[in-house]
Each structure stands twice: as structure tokens, then as C-alpha cells.
């Protein structure tokens, strides 16, 4: 095996291991599974083409999310117009990967749907930092790099997003109900 093919096989493995987190991040950002698939595909293809410029080690993860977020923006602009906004999708073809009982499915499904709807109601400028912070687990600094904004801007957007989500009637009702059951 040559050095170059060894490199590409390493990259292939890396791409396979990061595909699922990237796809789910894109789903949460776009609230559209088809769009997420296309955006992630485009992002990984870009990474493949520019693999020589790809940072190594820990720096690769923020870079991946940066490319994924940019691909999501591009896809949204292409599909939904200049502002990349649209009405939240009524239903998504989502399937639970685990196999819980019927009651559990209903509860988990309700909670997930409530979060998805609340995220979809959030302006895009707030939605992306929230997803990157609380789903992808990125730091404010890494998010700032990913969305080309200052760390202070990210911090204020996250604060505002948390405020809006806490004020979201459907989501807060759900969380209060959950606290009550505890």
C-alpha cells in the first residue's frame, strides 16, 4: 500500500466515524433530513478535495463543523431563498435507533419533537450556535471560528437563544412536566 493510499484510507475511516454526528448536527440546523444528507455529503466532498489543507488532531473537529455549517447555509440559500429561512417542516422521517417500549417511544418522541420545533422557531443566527454548543459540544471559541463571528458575539447569541428557548411555551411545558414527574 502506498503512502498516499494509506493516508486516504485513514481519512475514509475518519469520515465514516464522523458522518453520524455531522449528519445529526445538520439535521438539527436545517430541520430537514434530505437537506442534511446533501449538505453533509457536500461538506465531506469538500474536505476530501482539500484534504491536504485539513488540520490534524483535535483541530480537525471544529474544521469539520465549520465546513458542515457552511454547507448547510449554502443548501438553505439554494433551496429556501436568500435568507435561508422557511416554515418548519411538519413531519420528518425520523426513526428511533433504539428499541424502547411504546410508552417510552411516545415520551422520547414528544420531547424530541418539542426540541426540534423549538429549534426551528429559533432564528438561524441563534439556532446554529445552540446546536454546535449543546449537541456538537463545541466551546464558544470553536463556534466563533466555525461561524466566522467573535467569541463575544457567540456568547451573547447563546445567552439570547437560551432565553428564547426557556420562554418557548411548548418546550418549557414539557420540561416543567418532566421536572414534575421527577
Amino acid at each position: 500500500m502506498t503512502g498516499a493510499s494509506a493516508d486516504t484510507s485513514g481519512l475514509e475511516d475518519w469520515m465514516k466515524s464522523w458522518y453520524a454526528p455531522a449528519y445529526r448536527t445538520a439535521c438539527l440546523v436545517l430541520n430537514d433530513s434530505t437537506g442534511a444528507e446533501e449538505a453533509v455529503q457536500e461538506a465531506f466532498l469538500r474536505m476530501w478535495r482539500f484534504r491536504d489543507a485539513m488540520p490534524e488532531g483535535e483541530a480537525a473537529r471544529p474544521w469539520l463543523y465549520r465546513v458542515v455549517v457552511n454547507s448547510c447555509y449554502s443548501w438553505a440559500r439554494k433551496e429556501w431563498g436568500v435568507d435561508g429561512r422557511r416554515a418548519p417542516q411538519a413531519s420528518l422521517e425520523t426513526l428511533a435507533e433504539s428499541s424502547p417500549g411504546p410508552d417510552e417511544i411516545a415520551v422520547v418522541g414528544d420531547r424530541a419533537a418539542a426540541v426540534r420545533d423549538a429549534l426551528a422557531r429559533l432564528p438561524e443566527a441563534f439556532r446554529v450556535p445552540v446546536v454546535l454548543r449543546y449537541y456538537a459540544g463545541m466551546s464558544e471559541k470553536e463556534i466563533a471560528v466555525a461561524i466566522h463571528r467573535r467569541a463575544g458575539t457567540v456568547k451573547s447569541r447563546l445567552h439570547e437563544a437560551r432565553r428564547l428557548l426557556s420562554a418557548d411555551a411548548a418546550l418549557s411545558a414539557f420540561t416543567e412536566e418532566e421536572e414534575g414527574t421527577r
Binding site: Y19, D52, A53, L165
Partner: protein, 345 residues
């Protein structure tokens, strides 16, 4: 207000609900494979809009071809007796087709000349296009080049782009079908300001013919050895013929490999596009305020040191001259004065 941990749990619950397509990574790897036909992004679904656009494009091309043929009096023969032909350039994915009348545009004419000159020959065409762009437009220009390559049925075979840092820029190697090379170059030149474009053609016909002849000879030799193998009686003869067949077989495979490489080089022309971002003009210093004062102070200090060194140099020269003169006078005095004193005495 909902806490951070709770947000994390909620987002993970929502994210975990999405079923990840099992064939997603495979689709990407298939699309990333280098051959031109696979260089295009594999979409999950074909959109009606794209399909309609392709249909309209084909209809327009056919209509244009009919108009051009009928406008020349229904005869395809032109003044010099050569047929007026139209090159049909097939794009990647075989979805779009661009029919270019060869007399319609300058680059098409160049392509016509090139095709005539290279008719029946195997030519490897390469080129280097140096473009000047801006830091802000670098990424956009790279994306345009990629899109253009796909449009012309080609692909990006190598790319090294540096977007950040003091020296942004880089280079992309684009491979396009040889028939579209001139047209591709003409379109690529419009992407940014052109610094230079150089192309070169290498005729590899002799090499192709030579490889073909050697291959035929080796295949014949292998057939003869196989006949001998059937007739070999002793084990030592058998082993010896087998060894010889293995040697010939490895030579055949080597030549076939070279043929494939040459065919790929002839079929696809490579254009290396170098994108450079010129450095901003060096600032001569701030023009007002504290910066100006600081600049003046530094400048004054440097001028002062320069003047001091200059004065010191002059002074040193004068002192050295004085010492030399004094030594000469002293030497003369020492040699002349005793005689004078003796004469006086």
C-alpha cells in the same frame, strides 16, 4: 431558565432521533473517487428542475444546430471544401451537452485548429494558468473552478489552497477531456485577473505505437512459450519455460499499465491553476496622531544615529590623518634636526 445540562440532554435526545443513512459514507466515497464519470456529486434524488433544464438545453442546442445548417443553404460544405462540423462536448454524468459551432467563438476556432492539427495523433496537452485574486474572493474562485471543471466533464485531481495566514493562495490541478481543453481554458481565464497562461502539447504517438508493437511481440512470444510448455518433457525444462512465461507476462502487464496511463493523459488534459493574492502595498507609516509622532520620533532617532556615525567617521579620519602627518613630521625632524644642530654648532 433551562440549565446547560438540561439543554445538552434535550439536544442529544432530539439529535439521536434522526436515523443516519447507512449508505451515506459510501455515497460520499463513491463520489470522491477520481475517475471523471464519478467526479460529480451523487445526489439522493434527481430534481425535476434539473431534469427540465437539461431538456430545455438539449432542445435549444438542436434548434441552434438546425438554424446554422439551414442558414448555409442546406449544404454542409464551406468555401475551402472542409465540412463545417459541430463539436459535441459531453459533460460529467452525461446529463448536459454543449454543442459549440467551431466558428462561433475565438476559443472554438482555436480548438478547431488544434483538432485538425492533432487529427490521428496522440497528444498530451498541459497548461498553467496564473490568476491574481483577492483574499475575500479566493474561496469563491476555487469553487468556480471546481464547478467549471465538472461542467466540462472534468474533475479536480489535486488542490492545495491556503486561505488564512500572510500568504493566501494555492494551486488546483484540473483535468478536463482533451477536446474541451481550449474551451475550458478560455472560461477559466474569466474567473479572475489573468497573470499568464501557458500551454504545451507533447506528441506521444511514437511512444503509443512503440508500446503497441512491443505488446504484440510479447503476446506472440508468450503464445510460443505456452506451446513449448505443452511439449516440455523434463521437469527442469518445464520450470525453465514457466519462468520465462512469468517474465514475459510481467513485461506485458507493465506495458499495459503504461498504455493505460498514456491513454488517460491523452484523454484528459491537465491545467494547473495557480491562484495568488498580491500583498498589500507596504505602508510608509501612519499619517497622523500618536502613530505619526512615534514614527517621526523613530525616524529622528535613526537619522541622529546616522549623523553621529557620519560625524564620528569624519572625525576619525581627521584624527588618523593628523597622527600620520605628525609621525611624518616627527620622523623628518628627528632625521634632519641633528644635522642642522651639528651645522649650527
Amino acid at each position: 431558565m433551562i440549565g446547560d445540562d438540561e439543554f445538552e440532554a434535550l439536544l442529544h435526545a432530539a439529535g439521536g432521533e434522526f436515523a443516519v443513512p447507512a449508505d451515506g459514507p459510501d455515497k460520499i466515497l463513491a463520489a470522491a473517487a477520481p475517475p471523471a464519470a464519478e467526479g460529480k456529486v451523487v445526489r439522493g434524488r434527481i430534481r425535476f428542475r434539473e431534469f427540465a433544464l437539461a431538456g430545455v438545453s438539449v432542445a435549444a442546442v438542436v434548434a441552434l444546430a438546425i438554424v446554422l445548417v439551414t442558414s448555409s443553404g442546406g449544404s454542409p460544405v464551406v468555401g475551402n471544401g472542409a465540412l463545417r462540423t459541430y463539436s459535441l462536448e459531453q459533460t460529467a454524468g452525461a446529463q448536459n451537452a454543449i454543442a459549440t459551432p467551431r466558428s462561433a467563438a475565438p476559443h472554438a476556432t482555436a480548438q478547431n485548429t488544434r483538432t485538425k492539427a492533432t487529427s490521428g495523433r496522440d497528444i498530451v496537452a498541459t497548461g498553467t494558468l496564473r490568476l491574481t485574486t483577492t483574499r475575500a474572493a479566493l474561496r469563491r474562485d476555487v469553487a468556480r473552478l471546481e464547478a467549471l471543471a465538472i461542467r466540462f466533464g472534468g474533475y479536480v485531481s489535486a488542490a492545495a489552497i491556503v486561505e488564512t495566514g500572510p500568504h493566501p493562495g494555492g494551486s488546483i490541478v484540473v483535468k478536463v477531456p482533451a477536446g474541451s481543453f481550449a474551451a475550458f481554458n478560455a472560461r477559466a481565464e474569466r474567473i479572475a485577473r489573468v497573470k499568464s497562461l501557458s500551454t504545451s502539447d507533447t506528441d506521444v504517438t511514437a511512444r503509443v505505437v512503440d508500446l503497441g508493437a512491443r505488446l504484440t511481440a510479447l503476446v506472440d512470444e508468450r503464445s510460443q512459450l505456452e506451446v513449448l510448455l505443452g511439449r516440455a518433457g523434463k521437469i527442469s525444462d518445464l520450470l525453465s519455460v514457466e519462468n520465462e512465461i512469468e517474465n514475459v507476462q510481467s513485461q506485458i502487464e507493465q506495458i499495459q499499465g503504461e498504455q493505460r496511463t498514456l491513454a488517460a493523459q491523452v484523454g484528459y488534459s491537465a491545467l494547473t491553476v495557480q491562484l495568488a493574492v498580491p500583498r498589500p502595498p507596504h505602508s510608509s507609516g501612519p499619517s497622523n496622531g500618536f502613530g505619526h509622532a512615534w514614527h517621526e520620533a523613530v525616524s529622528g532617532f535613526v537619522n541622529g544615529v546616522k549623523a553621529f556615525v557620519s560625524v564620528l567617521g569624519d572625525l576619525l579620519f581627521a584624527v588618523l590623518s593628523f597622527i600620520v602627518a605628525a609621525l611624518i613630521i616627527y620622523g623628518l625632524w628627528r632625521s634632519v634636526w641633528p644635522r642642522v644642530r651639528r651645522r649650527i654648532a
